[in-house]
Every structure is written in structure tokens, then in C-alpha cells.
Amino acid sequence: MRIRIGAKTESNKISRGRISNESFITLSMFAVLIVLIGLASIFVPNFYLLQNIINLVTNSWYLIVIGIGVTFILVTGNFEMSVSGVVAMTGVLCVYFCQASNVSPSPLANGLGLPYGVAVILSLLCAMLIGAINAFFVAKLKIASIVVTLGTLSISRGIAQIVTQGAQRNTSLPDIFGVVGNIFIIGSVKFSIFIMIFFIIVAVIIEKKTVFGRRTYLIGANIQAAKLSGVKVVQHVTVLYLISSFLAGVVGILLASEYISGTSNRIMGAEFDALVIALLGGTAISGGFGSVIGTVIGALILAVVASSSTGLLLRPEWQFILKSVIVFMAIMAQRFAIDRRKL
């Protein structure tokens, strides 16, 4: 097509402009994190110690890994509340598959006696089955994702309870079971931390650099327009739920290995924390906006708050309220910042 170039839009005048709103929010939340660390270093005894800061990151690894899946799904405008149940279920099933069979009169000491590798693969498949159920109801049948994933949260937690009879399974396990969760790679850095870093890098690349990542944002920004622009929405959301449950499954296996047990109430309530860190990181609950790096920063903010309240010897029952106050403040600060930012 030949159209005369208008004076208004000469090509050299079209700049890339300033940084995107996502980067802007991520940077401002990073600033909030730095301020919080600064304040904590002043007021909380021994907070500034390097080991303490490292602990903050390492203790958040599982939350960050499940937070990645939750973030991607939130960006499409859907919820993923089933993650903590999937973590518990996968861990319990992995133990059950691995426990030696017919070795004890106690039912909780007997498993299927499968080799560790087979047990891991089978329990990951079970985790992804929950993801498939989520996807079927949310993407295909268009049922509200919050309802569906709260339902599967209950189902997966329930399976964990049934298999452990409401308690835990931790006997007759092969030695190899406790390796991946407790192995140190460099100094005091656990293997799980490397898994976390690996997933963060992959997620950031998917988010920023791939067509798949871009389409995730399109679905959240306007599902109708996404469909009319050729995005296969059902397929896309399905893949995301499978990924999220896979990540939760990996966390479940690593945690089971770390504690050498499968506990039915493992990380109870973490689905809420995963949602909170994504929101803290700037992900919009209505979809179309957010970033994985933001979620990582959100996790760190949550960790700083939780750990300084312990350091300040606040009674644990007050921590819940402190946590929610910080969340409200952070989210209001974001709203404020975005509204002030005119492009």
C-alpha cells in the first residue's frame, strides 16, 4: 500500500518511549523491598546479617515456584487456588508409591514399593491430572476459575488426607528418597534453590521473549479480541494449568524429600500466599498485567515482613494481621503509582 508519510508521524519521531508499566511497577516494588529491608535492619536485631538475608530467599523457594504458575494464570484473568493441595497430594503420593510393600502390619508403613524414579513420574502425572481437571472446567466449560480451583484444592488435599489417614507417611522409604531435597550444591545452597532459579529464568524468558508469553497477556487483556485475533484460548489456558500443577508437583516431591515424609497438611494455606505475592508483585487480578520478577519480589517482601515480625517478637497470632496490612498498603501504593503515571 502506498500512503504518503504524514508530518505528524514521521518514523524517526516514534520513540520506544519510557519503560513499560510492568517494569515500572516491578521497579517500584523493588524499591519498597529495599526500604523494608532498610527499616528491618534498623529496628530488628541481627536482621542485617547476610545469613539472615540468604535465609529469606531460601525459605521462600517453594512459594516462588508455585507463584510462577499462579502468576501466569492470573495474567490470563483466571485464578489458581489449587496449588498448595497439589503440593501436599504429590508429596504424599510420591511417598506412598515409594514405600516398601508388605513390610509392616501398620497400613501407613506400607506402600507400593515402586522405584523412586517411577514414583516421581507417577506422582507428577497425578499432579498434572488435577491441572487437567482445572483446565477442563475453566477453559472448556467456562466455569468460574475461583470455584473450580478451590474445589480441586479440596480434592487434592483430601486425597492427601485419605492416603495418610489424616497424618503422615514417613517409614519404609529407600535412602534415595531424601537426597534431592537435602543435597547442597554450593556451600549452604540447597538443590531446591537451583530448581527455583532455573524455573524463574525459564519463566522470565517465556514471559518476555516468546509468542506463548505474549498470548498469555492477550487473553487476560481481552479474551474476546484474543479469540478473534486467532489465539487458541482453550488450548492456551489448558497448557498453563498443566504447567502450574506440574510446578506444584515438583515442589511437592522436593518438600517430601526434604522432610522424608508425606504430610497431608503440608504448606496449608500457601495457595493464598501465592496469590498474595503475585498481587504484591503488581499482577492485576483482572488479568493482562503482571510479571514473574514482580512475583519474586512480592515473595521477598512477604518474607521480610514475616521474618521481621518474628524478630520483633510479635506474637505469631498477630502476624496474620501484619501481613494483610502490608499487602493492603503495597497494593494501594501500586494503584497510586500507576494512576500518577501518564503515558
Binding site: 500500500m1 502506498r2 500512503i3 508519510i5 504524514g6 505528524k8 508521524t9 514521521e10 518514523s11 519521531k13 516514534i14 520513540s15 520506544r16 518511549g17 519510557r18 513499560s20 508499566n21 521473549k209 516468546t210 509468542v211 506463548f212 505474549r214 498470548r215 497477556y217 492477550l218 487483556a221 481481552n222 474476546q224 479480541a225 484474543a226 479469540k227 478473534l228 485475533s229 486467532g230 489465539v231 487458541k232 493482562g288 498485567f289 503515558l343
Partner: protein, 501 residues
């Protein structure tokens, strides 16, 4: 009390870049049926929205019963005496007829419902209008026409001076229309004035006392219906002496068929068949509800259909937009904000979405290609922005529509389906979009324009299909000899006078 229930003086309503209602002065006589007609975009619906409180006027005065009138919302308008029966009916399906009639005006005691005389009165109004409706019935069991009657009864019982009816016959059957007309006539005895909006000109002669014609936001004239000779006179008033830019339709096409549609049917379309040549611009003209959008949706694979679509010699078997795009068809949808754009994202991220493979390799986005593409299309379509990172929601309507076009052009489609391509944008942006359409046609792309603006169709199309009630009524060749009166005659439900192909 004077003779006029409603007096509108110098009413103006501005939207960014468009004056939708331009200095309209109009009086409506008490206890009459007053019809308002005009093409889409003539300003009828804006005028109605001001009366019902959905929009604020920019300037001017409205007097209701001689008193200054303005409404904050439809509820406020109803309390002040103007009720509306909207096309999308405002009834609650899960409640009974009786409950619907008193909804919002229930008598209560400490929040509990009280059965009072009010209910009896409302039910009597309904009985006098239509005795066959049982007040204890669930509204979900009623037909569309019966729901309309319930709404009318509610408006009458609320003591409305004026009831506005917006296209009430669009979704109901012949015999139901007759019953509705009987009711409308009986409303005069109940001291109610009816403002009646319709595209079907024959109806105006049947029930109207007065008719007002609007065009381009202006009041062209108001006449007693008895003084109007025939529909042609109305049609002439509706289109006026619009001066058309001289569009010269392309002459004799090579027989190089790109799209062939055979006997397309679904619940909104009947027996649609046509062919489109390469490089041809084909228009589909019809009023709201004529089936234009439905046809566009069927062609793009979002609606199901029976029949055959043959594109580039291959029969299309898909039923999803991604396959249509793959085959080489792109759609500019009717509603740009809800269907066309990702308004919270930037211009840069909007442009490539229909053809990501052009800016990526094995799934990875090539950023420099993406930036180049964004820059190229911003310049090509003259999208007024200083940065490609601007959120699309912050652009004007015309520039937003250009982004939708950029998206579709980027898809490199052979066939572009444009559904109301210039709805709600200003004149300058319109003519720029027409230039884009002509440029595309020169490149050999085929274009289908679905529009309810005759001007747009006559200015861009080589051939025109006239649609009404989900059918193609007739096909005409665009050119200087075209008879606009006849076109309007046909799309408003008249029979073709002669075959003009």
C-alpha cells in the same frame, strides 16, 4: 398545561470529534404517537439516551410539561415521567409478572413487602392492556412480545407521560406486532404519549400521528403522518442531498473468484449466496438487525452455519477464527474496544497479534522485527502518537480503529472483512480509513464492507448487496446511476421495484 408534553430547544450533544446531536429543536404533542426516523448515526439514539438519562446533554433545554427536565439515569427519568421500553428488555426472568410490575416501587414495611392496593392497580393496567397474561406467571415463560407488554404496563402504571419504544418490533412476529400496535393505540386513551423509534417505515404509516426525520444529528423536519404522501418522501428526507465524493467503481472484473458462498443458513441468516472477485470491494448494506454482523461472523468462523464457503478454490471446513486467519481471512470486528483491541496493552503489542510468526522464529519473538513492524504500521496508517508504547485506551476513537486496521493488515490476509469499519469516529479519520481501503483494493486484496451507513458503502464499494431480515434482497452495481431511494426502500422492508443488476 399546554398542548406539548415535550419541548426540546437547541439541544446539542458533543462527543470527542463528533457532534452527535446538532441544534435540535422539536416539540411533541400530548397523547400522540410520535415517530422518529433516520439512518444509523443520524442522532436518534443519542437523543433518546439524553431523554432517558443515559447521557448528559452538552447544551440546550428540554421542557417536560413546561418544566425544565433532566434525568440522571433511567430510574430518575421514569420517576419524572419518561419511561423507556428498550430493545434489550429490562425484565427479570426469575420473578413473576406481578413482582416485575412492582419491582423498584414496592410498598414495604421495615424492608418487608406489603401487599397493597398498588399491586391491584398495576395488575388492572396489565389486564386492560392484555388480559391473557397471568400475573402469577414467571416472566421467563413469556414470549418477547408479552415481556414488552409487561414493560409497557409497568410504564403506564408508573404514571409516565411519555413512553419511548426503541425498535419494539425488531424481535417479534407479525401477529404479535399487530397486537402491540393495538396496545400502542389504546395508550392514547390512557393519556400517554409514545415516542416510537423504528427503521421499518411502513409501521410509521400504520400507527404514527407525527413523524420526525433526523439526519447527521440535525432535525430535518416534523410532519403529521397524514401529510406524508408515501415512503419515498420520507426516504428523501432521510438521505437528503448528500454530496458524494466521486468514487469510480472498478469496471469489468476479471473472472478470478476468491470467495464463493453457497446457500449459507443459520438461525439468523437464510440462503445467502454470493461471489467475490480478487481486488473487489463488496458492500453489504442493511439496517441494524439485517444480519450483517451474523454473516461476517459466519465467514470468519465464529458462528455456525449450514452451506458452503469456498475460499481460494478450497472449501472451508473450519469453525474457529485462528483457522480463518491461517486461510487468509482477517476481520475488523464491529466493536473495536470489546472485540478488536487489547486496550490495556500498548500499540506495539497490539499490532502483530494476528500474525505472530512474522515477528518470531520457532516461538521466540524477534524484538527488533517487532519494533520495526510497529513503527512501519504507525507511519503507514498515520496513527497519531509520539510513542509506540502508548496504551491503546489512551488513543482517540479514530486512531484506535487505525490500530485495529494495522492488526488486520499485518495478518497479510487476502480477504478483509470489515464490520462497521468507521463507526463512531470523526470525519477526518473516516476518509483516511477509506483511503486505506482503496489502497488495499489496488494491491489486489478483496474486501467485504458490512455497514449501516449508505454513504460509506457508496463511497467504497464496487458492488452492493442489500440485506434485510437475514437475506440478501438484491445485488446492485455501484455507479452514478444508483437510485438511493430504492436502496432505502428495499432495506427498510420494501420489495424490490426492479432488478437493477
Amino acid at each position: 398545561m399546554n398542548d406539548y408534553v415535550l419541548e426540546i430547544k437547541n439541544l446539542i450533544k458533543d462527543f470527542p470529534g463528533v457532534r452527535a446531536v446538532n441544534d435540535v429543536s422539536l416539540v411533541i404533542k400530548r397523547n400522540t404517537v410520535h415517530c422518529i426516523v433516520g439512518e444509523n448515526g443520524a442522532g436518534k439514539s443519542t437523543l433518546i439516551k439524553i431523554l432517558t438519562g443515559a447521557l448528559d446533554k452538552t447544551s440546550g433545554t428540554i421542557l417536560l410539561n413546561g418544566k425544565e427536565y433532566s434525568a440522571r439515569n433511567t430510574r430518575d427519568a421514569r420517576l419524572k415521567g419518561i419511561s423507556t421500553v428498550f430493545q434489550e428488555l429490562n425484565v427479570v426472568d426469575q420473578l413473576t409478572v406481578e413482582e416485575n410490575l412492582t419491582l423498584g416501587s414496592e410498598d414495604t414495611f421495615l424492608g418487608f413487602l406489603r401487599k397493597t392496593d398498588k399491586i391491584k392497580r398495576v395488575i388492572n393496567v396489565l389486564k386492560s392492556l392484555e388480559p391473557s397474561i397471568n400475573p402469577k406467571q414467571l416472566v421467563s415463560r413469556l414470549s418477547v412480545a408479552q415481556k414488552q407488554i409487561v414493560e409497557i404496563a409497568k410504564a403506564v402504571a408508573a404514571g409516565s407521560d411519555i413512553i419511548i419504544m426503541d425498535e419494539p418490533t425488531a424481535a417479534i412476529s407479525e401477529c404479535e406486532i399487530e397486537r402491540l400496535f393495538k396496545i400502542i393505540k389504546s395508550l392514547k386513551d390512557k393519556k400517554v404519549t409514545v415516542i416510537y423509534i423504528s427503521h421499518r417505515l411502513d409501521e410509521i404509516f400504520e400507527i404514527g400521528d407525527y413523524v420526525t426525520v433526523m439526519r447527521d444529528g440535525r432535525h430535518v423536519g416534523t410532519k403529521p403522518v397524514s401529510d406524508v404522501k408515501n415512503r419515498l418522501e420520507l426516504i428523501k428526507m432521510m438521505i437528503g442531498k448528500t454530496i458524494f465524493e466521486s468514487y469510480v467503481p472498478k469496471e469489468s472484473m476479471k473472472e478470478d473468484v476468491l470467495l464463493e458462498v453457497k446457500n449459507l443458513n443459520n438461525d439468523k441468516l437464510s440462503d445467502i449466496s454470493f461471489e467475490v472477485q480478487k481486488g473487489e470491494v463488496v458492500g453489504f448494506y442493511g439496517l441494524l438487525g439485517a444480519g450483517k454482523t451474523e454473516l461476517a461472523s459466519a465467514l470468519f468462523g465464529t458462528d455456525r452455519y449450514r452451506g458452503e464457503i469456498i475460499f481460494s478454490g478450497k472449501k472451508l471446513l473450519y469453525n474457529s477464527p485462528d483457522k480463518a486467519i491461517e486461510a487468509g481471512i482477517a476481520l475488523v470486528p464491529e466493536e473495536r474496544r470489546t472485540q478488536g483491541l487489547f486496550t490495556i496493552l500498548t500499540i506495539r503489542s497490539n499490532i502483530p497479534v494476528m500474525n505472530m510468526s512474522k515477528i518470531s522464529r520457532s516461538g521466540f519473538i524477534n524484538t527488533s522485527k517487532e519494533l520495526k513492524a510497529a513503527k512501519e504500521y504507525i507511519v503507514k496508517l498515520k496513527i497519531a502518537t509520539n510513542t509506540m508504547e502508548k496504551q491503546v485506551s489512551k488513543l482517540s476513537g479514530g486512531n484506535q480503529q487505525k490500530v485495529v486496521f494495522a492488526k488486520c493488515l499485518f495478518a497479510d490476509a487476502d480477504l478483509l472483512i470489515l464490520d462497521e469499519p468507521t463507526r463512531g469516529i470523526d470525519v477526518g479519520a473516516k476518509s483516511e480509513i477509506y483511503n486505506i481501503i482503496r489502497g488495499l483494493s489496488k494491491e489486489g486484496k478483496s474486501i467485504l464492507i458490512f455497514s449501516s451507513e449508505l454513504y460509506e458503502i457508496l463511497n467504497n464499494c464496487d458492488r452492493i448487496f442489500l440485506m434485510c431480515d437475514g437475506r440478501i434482497k438484491t445485488e446492485i452495481k455501484n455507479g452514478p446511476a444508483i437510485n438511493m431511494e430504492e436502496i432505502i426502500h428495499i432495506v427498510t422492508g420494501g420489495e424490490a421495484i426492479c432488478e437493477s443488476v
